[in-house]
Each structure stands twice: as structure tokens, then as C-alpha cells.
Symmetry: D2
Subunit: 369 residues, 4 copies
């Protein structure tokens, strides 16, 4: 597959930044899952540019559900969500079409699509497409919540500032749902925002590290080879623009640890097997162990900066200089976190539907009639 | 899919550590690729336990190709490689079947397979299965080499010791093919081995970080969403036992960098677009940019250690203590690197065959007859 | 996958008969393929109800392309086509929701979706969804034509009347593109229409047999096992509502033939291998042989009839009688043929892109700029 | 995928007629399913050449299970079955390598694999590979039986002779399991065998029609578009060598029927919805309706005949004459029926595991220990 992900629950993304719309088709969701359009709108708000630290493009993110939802619940058929593009000033982008923006996909899009790509505003590579991913993911997040599975992401590090670690996971996840800037420690959040503003003043940008927790996932989900839970999640997560690293549990942080430090000792919690530490990030041998699934994503700094950069004129094949104008985010990490939640939720719904069948995430019993 | 990976070039793994054999089916390789059994044997040697720092299990790794190779070349049909298990002392493992080994998949296998799993020696989760992956990957590595694409992995860090960075990539990759312990700096290698031995003496184990370079990959391979080159590689790599983190280019290391530091400026190298730095690891927007693809994998310390650990009796659901006996690697990172090469090569063959068609990796023209 | 088909070129369908819209996402089409909206409209006209022999529902089939087309050509990214529903009189269908219509999917939808399905007008099972399939297929048909591959379907039999066989395939296919009722022999067509009208007067319906020819397909496409060309096409074709049989070449018609009659003798046509007969329907061992691919589809009579039928009240589980009212086609075979062309074209584009790479169907060279 | 089929339960075939072995990997079967090697052997016997009407090649079909079975039950991991080739007289086939046998895949294999294919005895296209499919399918048949689902196929027509129709399905299926020649009416079977012998005496061959019944399949399995139950089964069935047509229920036979004849009226059988007739073959809208799934396959006459046939020298591109020698079946339909059972069972296991989860087909509770 290409712009699709999943085996039993499948998400397909479409749309270009300056085309008529972006959107998603979400297929395979069980019938009977409540679909709360207000919650989708909330989730879209979490990834929307906020205040002075984000792009000036106003994204209204009004969405329409064209199919697959009936009487407020999933019907079991493909759900198509469309988000029309409104405030697209293509002029901003038209000027330098031939000049590949460093760090962007302009050059690779040209190699792949031979100039037929819709280059305006990054086209299909635009972060704008993540609005559709966030919207579809909101349905997945809602379905998981009905099953007691929660997903939340905070900005673990940004601009050299560390957030406090997760502590009470479910409480933290609930709090994150309400935050426009996802730092668990408000003071750290304030310092991160300052670092972003500082970068913006320099015409520069910053990245950072996101940390995600998934609670309530049953043990036994994932496969030993290839469709490991880590592999499925990483496959999905690396498609979120800007993510350049994914690690589970100790990951790179415990590269120097010894086995006696790394191994998670097990104990019986009233018959349920649990571990005292969680360096494995909730996954052993590719399969969930019933502990929270914990992972981190490295988010690179936004590539759009206002410094003059060396580049190439793709059509002439000659060296050139590029000075970007227009509106650009000095950071996207605070927006990406909402996308990561959605992306993870979609991958988890897929793994769960494969494991337990296509009805598992769905409504109990039969529709009222 | 489950124990399979790929869309056009597909690898399927089978086998248990103490069953009759492990093996792989490699489907979709173009016809006419030379298959050098000597090279497969060499690659298997690279992942074999070496000397005092590895397990005492002697793995002969004699393999048979049951199909798909004809007159020394791929025929285009599925290639089945079987590696019989010989020196399997199940007794070593029988003793504590009910006691889940911390850091291993015993508990998660039990959750997934309900006790029907072949637990002996880790069964299907055993690193032994990577011999089949390495063998199939050797064919993929050979096919890529015919197309000027090379893959090599060194131990970037182990036991707190850093290897020197890659310098001349193709020379380094060629050198790594000959090394039994893949440190580019021999002195660093010596110190790593000492760290492994030290851990072994303590009944403990170590992990580390692998770094891989892929040279010669054409620009334009990968998809913007979901089947990004990073996502495909990470999906594959996370199935290699012990890998808990994957990053491309700057990854987590440049979490604090600004965009002006991170962006790779472009220049025209006689018409070919190249970048001065390679913080993107050769991938932008999910698509290869023609620069070397660079990634790092975090390898956790081997979970089998000789210290007494707290665990659970899976059948009784009660707390217990476990003291492992038998033979166990104090490190696997030096073995895993050969598996990573193979895993990456298989994923790349798949992406290339999808991009350029099923003949692209194959023999030129028609078979002699 | 579910409501998707394909490996390299992938079609996803969404929408319900009485929801806001039906539509399709077509992913994996090569960049640079001309997209002629007029041609899409023509193809939609071919599947639209025509005159007195079809349903009174007026389907305007105005479509919007939301993505993936730029400057009149495919950009290489997913193409989303939306066809809003306009003239939907749900009232017609509301009356008997609980009463499963014999021959329809009401009962099976209920078993699968537990009553959460949008039942109005057949919901996602409605033939209305084939408008989206036809539209996406029109792009595929156009792409194939650029490569010299043509697809055409005639009504081989309807209401007990046989059409004349295909003779000059390319001329016949060209003629079929212009016909609102696809009988190659106008007189046979007239008799078929009369048979349909007769059935309509009886409150009854008819089916028949469609025959499809594909010319220009290169030899060597398809796989020996599972992804045979026949299997891929049949998989796709059986999703067209009403199709209950698919055969290639001689199929069931030559069940009594001997090998000496069935085998297609080969000859060299200036170096190109061809066969004198085409009982294999252009496929041997699952792989195209360069001859026209010929297949037939059995189309069952439209299930909506105006005779009282025995059925079950799905909610009460009790026997009941059903007398349909409203507007219904006495035949759909003349509309289905346009869908079959599209369905086949999509499956062929997929097989070709897999075989020859993702650019093969695309525009030559680079986009003008 | 290529030589693989399935989404949750996946079968992969490998092997060449005159290579070391043929085999299959069956992945995704639930853990705890009893694996009866005697039953596998029985099923292999059913597809083995029988007596004077079959090829003289003695196929011992000794198989080994290399993985995935532990203590007589599936362990949940991939099951690799290998059937070594023994009595392979390549000499028989070497003589005319360049001369494409009409009706065989020699020419198309050459187009696809460019002469690198193992041509001996048909190589990977050989019916020999169906032994592996039959063996893997035997495990699937056994798993289905544990769930009350039975599959059986009889020779509905051969050499112009009709068998009696199915009557008591489960009794007929049980009887078919014991028959070496699968005609329900012994007299019809005798006449079919005579027709086969007559054809053999003429150096010719015959085909026919197989009919399959599946009982006990729950309602609600299959998807409305693309992954319809018919599409999935047909996709699988068309990979069985010789099958050129697949129809469900009325199929082509009722092409002239009217809706009032074709529609299956429904009734409540103690709350369970059933139909009085079964012209839909147990599938409506792509989804099983709980009635027996009934389908027919057209099997072409064996292409190997002993009459001189016109052909092409593939290497020289010149016309030539071919007179086959060696041993060849004058009919395979009586052997194919066992393969059809297996193929259908594998596709059904896949659909069921997707629908109800990966444990559904498995052993109840936890393994004894």
C-alpha cells in the first residue's frame, strides 16, 4: 500500500495543501462506535497553530463526514472525512517553485513525481494533511477509550528544556487532552514557548522529543516477526512529518545499561503479570505485555526558516540561493503531538481488530431501532 | 501479514529454536540474480557466536535452498531456505518452563499463544530465527550490490565505548564485510570486547547502538505517507530481536538543534542534487534523496543474565525467583549487525521492486541456454 | 484490506446511497497521466439509468476531484473523487426497514453490522457506489489507452437473447464506448431491450452475461500462484454487485472439450508468440500471454421486483411478506458493463504497475514548467 | 503479495517440480488446533494420481512439518510443510525445453522470467505444487471441522457425464472424504472414468466441472466491496492450475432466469434466517448469509496430450512442431477436487480469523502443562 496504513482497520490519506481539500478514509472500524463530532473538532484544535508561536495561516478545519457514520455511530463501512482548504495563499509559494527548500520534500517529490506534483505549499507533503490524520484518529481515540485504552503525548523536550516525566499516566493523559501546549510542567512549558519565540525572532526554528503513553492495552497484541507492535507503531509514526526517530522504553537512553538494569522483573498483581520497571516500553518479543506502552519520537526542527540557504534550481539543475518568505511555524512539535496520538490510536485499533476480530471495538449488542 | 514483510519482495520466517529447522521463504526477487552460496555462508558466519564473548551453542548453520534457485541464479519464484537445528539441548530450557524470563518473550508468548507455543529455547522468538533472516538477506545484499547499492553496519557504541564514525562509506562497508567484530576502530573494538567480557564475568550483559549506511540508493524511493522509507525500514528493523529504537540521520541526537543547523543545504554535483550535510539521513518526506541512507538502532542488553531475578510462574500465577543456567550471550550486538544488514537489504529490495518493477534487480537480458 | 483493492494501484470506495456522497480514492497512479473530466463524465453516463428500461431515480453524477490531479494530469498522489447524492428519496426505503429484501444484502448487512448499518437505499451495498468505481476506473481506462491497452464489454446475452460475438476487437471496443446499450448487434440489442421491458411489465427483472475483451496487454503480467491474472480480475469483478460468475476463455462453455480442442496452438508472428485460438482467454499459468484477455461475467437478475415475496422481519425474527414499491431497475446488466470495464482497468493498472514499476503508466519525461 | 494468499491466515507456496522439494508456509493459524498427520496424508492421497487414469509418476508425498506444530497442535507460529521430490525424471522434460507446450505456462513463464525459470516438469507451475497446498489445506480443513464447518467437492461433470446433485450435504461431504474418485453417483463415476480412459487411448485429455459445498459457515463473513466472500474464494481458486471459471449459486446456469425465479425467499427457522432456495450460493452483497456456500469451478482438459501440436521455439522465435512423450494425466479433475477443498478451506480460515480474531479457530482454553 502507499498512502494507506493498516490491515483490518485501514486509514488512507489524500489531499494537497492548496487543492480543494484534504481528507481521510477510515475503513474497518467496528459498527456501533459513537462518533462525537465535537471531540473531533477538539482534537483538530489541539493540532491547530496556536498564538504567536505558530504560522499565521488560519486553518478553520471545518470537516464533513461523507460516509460511514449513521445516527451518530459508525456503521461499519468506510468513513470519509473531508476538510476543505480555505485560506490558501498559493502566491506565497509560487515564487520559488524551482528552488528546493532544504529540509523539505521538494527535491524528493520532484525525483518521484517528475514535476507533475502539486508543489504549492508542499502539496501532499504538507503538514496540512495531518489534519485529516488527526480527525480520523479522533474516532480511533474515542473507540479505544470505550475499551479503557488511553493515549496521550507530551513534549518531553523542546528547545533544550525538559518537561517533567509522566507520573500518574491516566491523570496526565486526561490533563493533556485539555492543554493547548502539551507540557505537563507548566513552567517547563513556559520556557519551551520562550525558546520557540526566541528561535522565531532569529528567523530560525526548533524541534524536540515527544513522549507517548498508552494505558489499558491488553497483553498479547502484536506478532513476533515483522508485525511487531513496535514495528507497526514505528511504521505509522515515521509518516508523521518531522519524526526522525522512534524508540520504545529505554531505547537509546539505556544504550549503556547492563541486562541486570534493563530487564523488567515480573510480579503477580493478583494474578495479572506486571513488571516493576518498564524499560521494555510495554512490549516484549513484539507483543504487548499489559504494561503501558511507552515510546518517544524525535521531531526535527521545522525546515522552513528565514535565513538564506544554498539550494538547487530543480528545473535548471543549477546552484541557487533561497530566502523564504511568507508564514511559517518556528516549531511544530506542539502540534505534532496531537497527530502522534491519532497515528498511534489508528495503528492500535488495527492491531486490536486483527487480534480480537472486527466487532471488538464496536458497540455492544444491536442498534436500537 | 504476520511473520512476513514486504509488498513486492516478501520475506516470511518460520521455525523454532528447538524444532527441526528454522527457515525463510523469499518471494518476488527478480529472475536472474546470481546466488552465491559461499556468500550466504559468509553472512551466516558474521552473525554466528564468536569466541569467548558468545554463547557456547555451536550453530553450524548449514543451509539448504529448496526452491527458487536454478543454475546458480534466482528463477523468479519463491526461494525457500532451510537451516536445520542441530545442537539443541532442550534440557537446558526445560527446567523452568513456567517461569517467565525477564526481558524475554516468555510471558507475552504465553498471553498470545495460551501455552501452546513451543517454549523451548525461546521457540519462534529465538535469535536463532535470525539465521534464516540473515541467509535470505544475503541474497538481497547480493542483488543490491549488482545494482551498486551497498549496506553496512558497525557497532557505533557498546559497553560505553564509541567506535569512530563512518568516513569513506564504501571502503568502510567493504571492511565491515570482513570483520568478525564490526568496530571500524580496532582499538575501540578491543575495548568493547573487554566490556562484554567484563559483563560476562559479572553474569551480566550489555547492549549498544548500531549504525548503518546504505550507499547508491537512487533518489525517489518511498512514499509520502505511511510507506515512507523510514517507516518501512523501521517496521522491518524493530522485528530484529533486541532493537528498541530506530533513528534516521540526526534523530534524537539533534533534538536540541535549530533548523538552520539541521537543514541540509543542497548543491548541484554535475546536475545531480546532493546535500552538504546529511542530517536527514538520506530521506526527505519519506522518499530517498540520493544521499546515503543513515540510521541507528538501539540494541538492548541481552536479557539472559545469570543473576537471580524476580518473576512469575505463568501457570500458577504466583511470584517466583529465577536463576538461569546454561549458555547465553553476554552481548548480541556484534551478531545483530549482520541481521540488520540483511533486514535493511530485504526492505530496500521490496521498495525498489515496487518503484521500478519486478525485473529491476534481476539479471540483464535472457538466461543463456 | 476491505473496501480497497490493489497492491500498487489501490482503489478504495466509500459512501452510502442516501448519505451525503459516494466516492473513491485512487492511489498509486503514476504521475503525469492526462485526466479528462469529460471522459469521466462520459463513462458515468454509460452506467446511468437509461430511458424506460431503468429506474426513475435521476442521478446527476456530478463529481468533484478533491486531490491528486494538478494541471489536468495525475500528480502521483491519491486521487479523491466525490459524487454527491442528490435525488435521494429515503422515504421510499424507510417503510420496510426491518423486512429483508430477498436477493439483496439487507440480511447479511444486518448480520455483519448488527443494525448499525445505514440501510437506506441499500446503503453502502447500493449500486450507487459503482458510480465512484466507474469514475475512478475512467482514469485507469485513460491511462491504459495511452499505453495501447483497451478494455470493452458487451452484453453477450440478456433475456435469452445472444449478441453477436466480438469480431474486430479494437473496432468493437471503440464502438461500445459510444453505445448507451452495449449490444454489438443492434437488432439483438433491440430484442434484449424488449425482454427487459417485458420483465418490467410483469413486475419482474432479468440478468444475463457480459463479455469483456482486453487488447494490448503485454505478455508476462500476473503470478503463478494466488495473484494469477485471473484471480486478481475475478477478485475485483465479484465485488461488482450482481456478478455471480466469472470465467476466462473457454470457461464453463468448454467443459466437455478435449485437450486437443482446448489447447491453443502457438505460432510466431514475426517473432512475437501468438496463439491460433484463444480458449485460454489470454492467460496461461496465471500470466498474460500477449493475446487478448477475454472473460465473461454472469449477472444475476436485479433483485428488486414488484411481486410479493416471503421474507423475515430482521428485528423480530418472524416471517413476513414484502411487496416492494418505489423505483427499481428491471435490469442492470446494461449499466454494469461500464462498471466492469472500470473494475477490470483498475485491476490491470495495479498488475502493470507492480510488474513494470510505478512510473510505467505515467507521462513521459518531466512536467512542463 | 505474490505466491502468498491471505490477510490473517496466510499461505505461501514454494517449490519446483524437479527441484529438491515443494512446500508451504501456513501462518496465522490459531494456537491449539489439533494437527493430525494421518489426516494430512489422507488428503494427499486424495489428490494423488490414481490407477490407470493418471500419470505414472509415483508421488510418495512424504511430508515433514518443520515448524509451527508442537505436541500435536498448532503453536500459533508459521507452519512450514516440506514435501521432498523423489521420482523426478527430468530427462522426460529436458528434450524440448525450447518448445512451448500449448496450454501450459512454458511461454508465459518465459515472458515473465526470461528463461531463468526452472522449466523442468513445469517448474513452479507444476501441479506438483498443489501437493503442498493440499497439505496445508488439510490443517485448515481440520480446524474448520472443529468449528462445525465442512467443505466437500464432487465432480459435477466430466467427459460429458453429469454426477447426481448434492442432496444431504454433510453426508455427501463425509462420503467424499473416503472416495478416491469423487462422483456421488457410482455409476456416473464409472462412466466418467471410462470417458477419461477413452480420451487417454486417443492420446487426448478431458476436463469438467467441480462443485463444492461449504456447510456451517456463520452468517456475516466477507466484505461489501472487493473482499467479498466470492472474490476472496475466486481469487484463491483461480490459482489452482486448470481452473478457468468460478461461479456461485446460479452463476451462468441461471443467466436467463428472472428475478422472481432467482431471488431466494427468506424464512425464520426458529429465529435463524434461512432461505428456501440457494441461488445466491450462500452469499449476498459479498457476505455469507448462513446458508451453505455453493460454487462451481470449470476445469480445463489437461494440456499435456500426445498429439502433434504446432508451437514456437521460444529461444529461436521460430515455428515448430511438438510431440510430447513421457507420462501425463489424461485428466486431473479427480485430483483437483482435493486441492479445491484445501484452497477453499484456507481462504475461509482467513476470512474467519479476520472476522472473529486470531484465536477463534484455535483450541479452547490453555494448553495442558
Amino acid at each position: 500500500m502507499k498512502n494507506s496504513f493498516g490491515t483490518s482497520v485501514i486509514i488512507t490519506l489524500f489531499g494537497e495543501s492548496h487543492g480543494p481539500a484534504v481528507g481521510a478514509v477510515l475503513d474497518g472500524m467496528a459498527p456501533g462506535i459513537p462518533v462525537d463530532e465535537g471531540y473531533i473538532a477538539e482534537r483538530l484544535r489541539l493540532r491547530r497553530p496556536c498564538g504567536s508561536i505558530s504560522t499565521a495561516r488560519i486553518e478553520k478545519d471545518d470537516f464533513s463526514i461523507l460516509s460511514g457514520v449513521f445516527n451518530g455511530r459508525t456503521s461499519g463501512t468506510p468513513i470519509c472525512i473531508v476538510i476543505p482548504n480555505e485560506d490558501a495563499r498559493s502566491g506565497d509559494y509560487e515564487r520559488d517553485r524551482a528552488l528546493a527548500r532544504p529540509g523539505h520534500a521538494d527535491h524528493t517529490a520532484f525525483e518521484k513525481y517528475h514535476g507533475f506534483e502539486d508543489h504549492r505549499g508542499g502539496g501532499h507533503f504538507s503538514g496540512r494533511v495531518t489534519a485529516a490524520l488527526a480527525a480520523a484518529g479522533a474516532i480511533a481515540l474515542g473507540a479505544l477509550r470505550e475499551r479503557g485504552i488511553r493515549v496521550g503525548t507530551h513534549i518531553a523536550r523542546c528547545g533544550g528544556v525538559d518537561d517533567r516525566p509522566f507520573s500518574d499516566l491516566n491523570a496526565d493523559i486526561a490533563a493533556l487532552e485539555q492543554m493547548s501546549f502539551a507540557a505537563l510542567d507548566p513552567e517547563a512549558g513556559e520556557r519551551m514557548r520562550r525558546a520557540i519565540s526566541d528561535a522565531a525572532e532569529d528567523g530560525d526554528s526548533v524541534g524536540g522529543i515527544l513522549e507517548t503513553a498508552v494505558t489499558g492495552l491488553p497483553a498479547g497484541v502484536g506478532e513476533p516477526w515483522f508485525d511487531t507492535l513496535e514495528g507497526l507503531l514505528a511504521h505509522m509514526l515515521f509518516s508523521v512529518p518531522g519524526i526522525k526517530g522512534v524508540q520504545f522504553g529505554g531505547g537509546f537512553d539505556l544504550a549503556d545499561a547492563r541486562g541486570s538494569e534493563y530487564n523488567d522483573e515480573l510480579f503477580s498483581d493478583g494474578g495479572t503479570v506486571r513488571t516493576r520497571t518498564n524499560n521494555s516500553g510495554g512490549v516484549n518479543g513484539g507483543i504487548s505485555n499489559g504494561m503501558p506502552v511507552m515510546f518517544r519520537c524525535a521531531v526535527k526542527p521545522t525546515p522552513s526558516i528565514f535565513k538564506t540557504q544554498a539550494t538547487v534550481d530543480l528545473f535548471k539543475g543549477e546552484n541557487a540561493l533561497l530566502a523564504l518568505k511568507g508564514r511559517h511555524d518556528p516549531a511544530i512539535i506542539h502540534r505534532v503531538r496531537a497527530v502522534v496520538d491519532s497515528a498511534a490510536a489508528l495503528a492500535l485499533c488495527d492491531a486490536l481488530a486483527l487480534r480480537y476480530g472486527t466487532d471488538w471495538l464496536g458497540g455492544v449488542g444491536c442498534a436500537a431501532h
